[in-house]
Symmetry: C2
Subunit: 366 residues, 2 copies
């Protein structure tokens, strides 16, 4: 019980303040200038799936509501078991959470600190930056390659021996681009001892790319995150998993009681049992995406080709201005990144929604 | 970025391991010997509300499911606003969480540590023990008075000047007994500077007792927890709030992204807007409780009179044996506490369920 294990009240407050930056309110503020959007707005700003939960999940969750007075004691185990079977990793390699943001933060808190840096892409999903800052870890933001992949050689070089976490979102958010499998293998094989590679596969279903879960099964220093927020359309319902060796998962074990929402659990279990959902949704979103890309190419707009449910558009002027102008057209698109200030992120909506996007975008750009 | 603010990987692992003790799996294991109960079992082991969510909440949550593909950006603000209005505290004095366990842990983590002890009752709800142990804080477990109230004078004496958190669950879990308002006022007035009184009002609606939220509004060093798990019957759906001065709430601010489940948010908002739910449910549970107490008194069983949705029964033998024997009768009752090994906790079910309890209990005890 020595002082060494303590963090002071002030430190805790700093931690809370620094890492609380990415809250729902902050995101809403950033993405939705002028408050709540009108009910008929096209919402393609937050990488949500416009199809929502699948029919099987909706039915299961409707049933769960009626039993909502009861704690979900056994459902987390059922979800772990299903993931374990479907992903081919041991049951003790799977932990469930209310989404994948929670374990993302926990991994950074557990493995980063002074002398153990957080190594990420640029542009990348920034959720891990806050916990890295709190832990006093250096943050290395390494620009994507010309092919918009993670530049793993440069990431290794920048980190040197002092790495804590290499964060690889694959496909990347916001660009929707893939990092080749062999590059991730190179990263895992050449990273310094004691560090982990955190592979965020939130969007992998859209791409059809190979998962890195087999690296978890092979006992590598890899943690893979999966979420039900994206292809399964359950962003608001909160369910996700972290997969890793038991000794790695122990380090991100819950500090709290881990009571998880019964609806998210029921929906996740039903989604995994449903047939064809992933393939059907991947096909639909791909068709819509390719149609938008054809249109944009025809109109001469510049964008980064994506295999995910969002893409970056080069608008040739401050992205904020385009976001605001689009919002006036009742089409809410995503934000810019500091290193790419003239790009905006656009999520893929339904076919009908993307027709409205096209019209609004042409008016705003034209 | 000095070493002082860091906690080591090993410390983090110890923290995780120590405070992860109270997980859903551990609770399930403890409360349900022999795995999942049969579908027709009477579940009066976890202080759940057998009535489940109210009709208004069910309807709102059914609607939320369909929008479940969207993140809940604005609902947390709506819930904060409603709580603020109904409880008479400023909007900046209310923070929402996925249940009240999360802020309970955060308060202990933020205010306890070496030289800042965790002071609680015995028996009490033990959820705060884990984070207190992780922080290296002394834990003072102070027996209830003969009237089963918190012994606030003894709590103050035991803590001395080195207190971090005084935890007062009112009415208490597991005894269902109240601590008089003036005793809590005495505690708040006489506690050492820098400490907080954490008033857990999870069960207060059942009792009709006065809330301590007015102490929050008056700027005292008090944090009040409320949950939608109990009177509102939403244990599985995860919604709760912490109320305190903004400077206290800042110390328990989220370290993660605070994406909250849309169902829990929608159900909580609808529950607060619904008329008569609290009064009706309080009356119903009270009628059932008083009927059980009449029967037990008539049969000569000893119990602690409760004003909540659970009560402690003195079974005059190891409580574990009675729990196991009751489970064989398909009636799952709650556990014993180390300091009260011959008592078991029984939650109040429906009238029909408590008839089954009576029959099974008579057979087991008889």
């Amino acid at each position: 019980m020595g002082q060494s294990r303590a963090f002071s009240r002030r430190e805790f407050a700093r931690w809370a303040a620094s890492v609380g930056v990415v809250t729902e309110a902050a995101l809403a503020q950033r993405s939705m200038p002028g408050g709540p959007p009108p009910p008929d707005a096209v919402m393609i700003n937050a990488n949500e799936n416009p199809l929502g939960p699948c029919a099987e999940a909706l039915e299961a969750m409707a049933g769960a509501l009626k039993r909502g007075g009861r704690y979900s004691f056994f459902e987390p185990m059922e979800l772990r078991r299903l993931m374990s079977e479907q992903e081919g990793v041991g049951l003790d390699h799977v932990q469930v959470f209310a989404g994948s943001s929670d374990p993302l933060h926990r991994v950074v808190l557990a493995f980063c600190g002074p002398g153990r840096s957080y190594v990420t892409a640029d542009p990348a999903y920034e959720s891990g930056d806050g916990p890295a800052e709190f832990r006093g870890a250096a943050i290395h933001r390494v620009p994507l390659t010309k092919e918009y992949a993670h530049d793993v050689r440069e990431m290794l070089k920048r980190a040197g021996e002092a790495a804590g976490v290499f964060y690889v979102c694959n496909p990347n958010n916001p660009t929707g681009t893939l990092t080749p499998r062999e590059e991730i293998e190179y990263l895992v094989a050449n990273k310094p001892a004691g560090s982990v590679v955190l592979v965020d596969e939130a969007y992998i279903h859209f791409s059809g790319a190979q998962s890195c879960v087999d690296m978890v099964a092979a006992g590598k220093d890899v943690v893979v995150l999966k979420t039900f927020s994206k292809i399964y359309g359950m962003a608001g319902l909160r369910s996700g998993v972290a997969m890793g060796r038991p000794d790695l998962l122990a380090k991100i074990a819950p500090y709290a009681t881990m009571f998880l929402p019964c609806t998210g659990l029921a929906g996740a279990i039903a989604s995994l049992k449903a047939k064809g959902v992933v393939a059907e949704r991947r096909r639909y979103l791909k068709e819509v995406r390719e149609d938008v890309f054809s249109w944009m190419t025809g109109e001469g707009y510049r964008f980064v080709p994506s295999v995910s449910n969002k893409f970056m558009v080069d608008v040739g002027r401050p992205g904020r201005e385009v976001m605001a102008a689009m919002a006036k057209e009742k089409v809410y698109i995503g934000r810019s990144w500091p290193s790419w200030p003239q790009h905006v992120r656009v999520s893929i909506g339904t076919r009908e929604e993307m027709e409205l996007f096209k019209g609004a975008f042409a008016r705003v750009m034209g």
